[in-house]
Amino acid sequence: MKKALATVAVALALPGAAGAQPGGGASVEQGKELYAEHCLSCHGPNGSGVTSTSHPTGALGLHGLGPPLKGVGAQAADFYLTTGYMPLQDPYDQPRHTQSPFNKQEIAALVAYVSSLGKGPPIPKPEPKRSEISRGLQLFTDHCAGCHQVVAEGGYVPNAVAPPLHQATAVQIAEAVRVGPYLMPKFSEGQISDDELNAIVAYVEWAKHPDDRGGWNLGRIGPVPEGLVTWLMAAVVLIGVCLAIGRRAHN
């Protein structure tokens, strides 16, 4: 069944040329067409969702495969589409950061359509430049490092992966904090203010390219493993030299 699902998902994921309007702005109309083509089978007509009790059933005749999208706003739609989490590869598996099958303009159209379904939060505009990395590190340690690790390399929770954040853009990080994708809790402004969020984004941006002292990527402490290997080889050579000298003296 998984194979069949995947086939359908791939088929659904291929964007049709019909919906694309070359050169046109993000129109709700175009978004609606794309939605009907790629999203409707799981999320239901007009973003009403397909829950365990809704009729008709969702993709592959299954009930309960897509949450309602009314009121999620441009923020969530933009996050899930730009990260490639949606369209979903497998509804029973965790979505991964992948290349979206839609182009930028198609994503903008879909986001415009989803945000027109109900009042919801807009796409956030983080300003990491206006914040301190050290403060961001502290906040990241408090709120995020438990799962994503303090260097934002990602980690594990039971039944899920906390993804590494090196691929995430500043906007996606800000969106994820507010949306709480998959198993991540969401953080409201009461918990992490916009100002603090800027600092966190600044830190994650820095963590993508941290100060590196060279060498193998072992905690970025410098070429220590290489040094150890060099010592090992030097020791072997040294023993060889000793043996040679000893043999000569013996003769």
Binding site: T51, S52, G64, L65, G66, P67, P91, Y92, G146, C147, Y156, V157, P158, N159, A160, G180, P181, Y182, L183, M184, P185, K186, F187, S188, G190, Q191
Partner: protein
């Protein structure tokens, strides 16, 4: 009268002991060789009483250092304790090593014999070696004293190495695990001391709360607070009214090893995703907040203690009483009792 007689009996006993000790001491000196001594292999060396005293002093020093280790260990709050422990243990080993060094250098004859070794199992040679070893120790005049000194040093060191096993758990004083600052009416406050209002608690996220007017450092103080739709909660029947508005509060200290339960797993779409869970990042103990903190995965042996809540007229969350079980890691004997409210803080 009877007192005098008792005193006399004691004196008699003392006298007997003194005589026995005297005979023993004198007898030691005049021990006759039982058989004719065979020809010496190792040149007879001069006894070296000074070296023996030195060895004895070093051994006793090692014993003192080991005892010092135990003494330092028994202090609870000592600055630089680890360093002192290392120092004491290192000193003990160093002194023991020095004693062995002095024995090797100044008390044991180290004759060098150059000869072809015959094949193994050569009875004559073996006997010779045995004799050699025996005679090498000839210079020791106070063998037993030195042996006793060595025994003391090694025994004290052994004790020093075994004592830290006490840290595996509090055996006697487990009361602090049952004392928490929570009692009826105490408010839940955030890190800044602001009270938590029921209306401000959102679903799909988690909060850390502390006991009002109590130290945040106390083991029993921190809570993890989560809100659900009341229909999502499946608490045991006696805890029905512990979660006003679907807000549940659990101790933030993991029942396995005492780490902070810092992760909250929240499904976006529960129909196809794993259920909500509180997770400890240390060893991934996973607790179900909708079912009274039951363990659903990981090494924890008992549920997270739940704190009963109510909402006061101003809308702030307050404790209804103490936790449902002892807070903190599960030491031996900690699991049985119910927590009590400790002295007011």
């Amino acid at each position: 009268m009877s007192g005098d007689r008792e005193e006399g009996a004691q004196l008699n006993a003392l006298k007997r002991w003194a005589i026995a000790a005297g005979v023993l001491l004198l007898g030691r000196k005049r021990r006759r060789p039982l058989v004719a001594e065979p020809e010496r292999l190792v040149e007879a060396g001069q006894p070296d009483p000074r070296a023996e005293w030195l060895v004895l002093a070093l051994l006793l020093g090692a014993a003192c250092a080991a005892a010092g280790f135990i003494a330092v260990y028994s202090f609870n709050h000592l600055e630089h304790q680890t360093q002192y422990l290392g120092l004491a243990l290192g000193l003990a080993f160093a002194l023991l090593g020095a004693a062995l060094g002095v024995i090797g250098k100044r008390l044991v004859d180290d004759e060098e014999h150059e000869e072809e070794y015959p094949l193994p199992r050569h009875p004559e040679a073996e006997e010779e070696i045995a004799q050699l070893v025996q005679e090498s120790g000839d210079r020791f005049t106070r063998k037993r004293l030195l042996l006793a000194g060595g025994g003391t040093a090694v025994g004290a060191l052994g004790a020093a190495l075994v004592v830290p096993a006490l840290s595996l758990g509090p055996f006697l004083d487990t009361d602090p695990f049952y004392e928490t600052p929570w009692r009826r009416g105490r408010r839940l406050v955030d890190e800044a001391g602001k009270p938590f209002l029921l209306d401000e608690i959102e679903t799909e996220t988690f909060y850390t709360a502390y006991a009002d007017r109590a130290s945040k450092e106390e083991l029993g103080s921190p809570l993890v607070v989560v809100r659900f739709e009341p229909s999502q909660l499946h608490l045991p029947s006696q805890r029905r009214d512990w979660a006003p508005g679907g807000v549940v509060a659990y101790s933030k200290i993991c029942t396995h090893a005492g780490c902070a339960v810092a992760l909250y797993r929240k499904p976006t779409f529960p129909l196809v995703e794993p259920g909500p869970a509180l997770v400890c990042p240390c060893h991934y103990s996973t607790f179900d907040p909708t079912r009274g903190g039951n363990v659903i995965f990981g090494p924890a042996g008992r549920p997270l203690p739940q704190l009963p809540l109510y909402v006061d007229p101003s809308g702030a969350l307050r404790a209804r009483g103490n936790f449902s079980g002892p807070v903190g890691p599960s030491w031996w004997g900690v699991r049985m009792r119910k927590p009590s409210t400790g002295p007011s803080t």
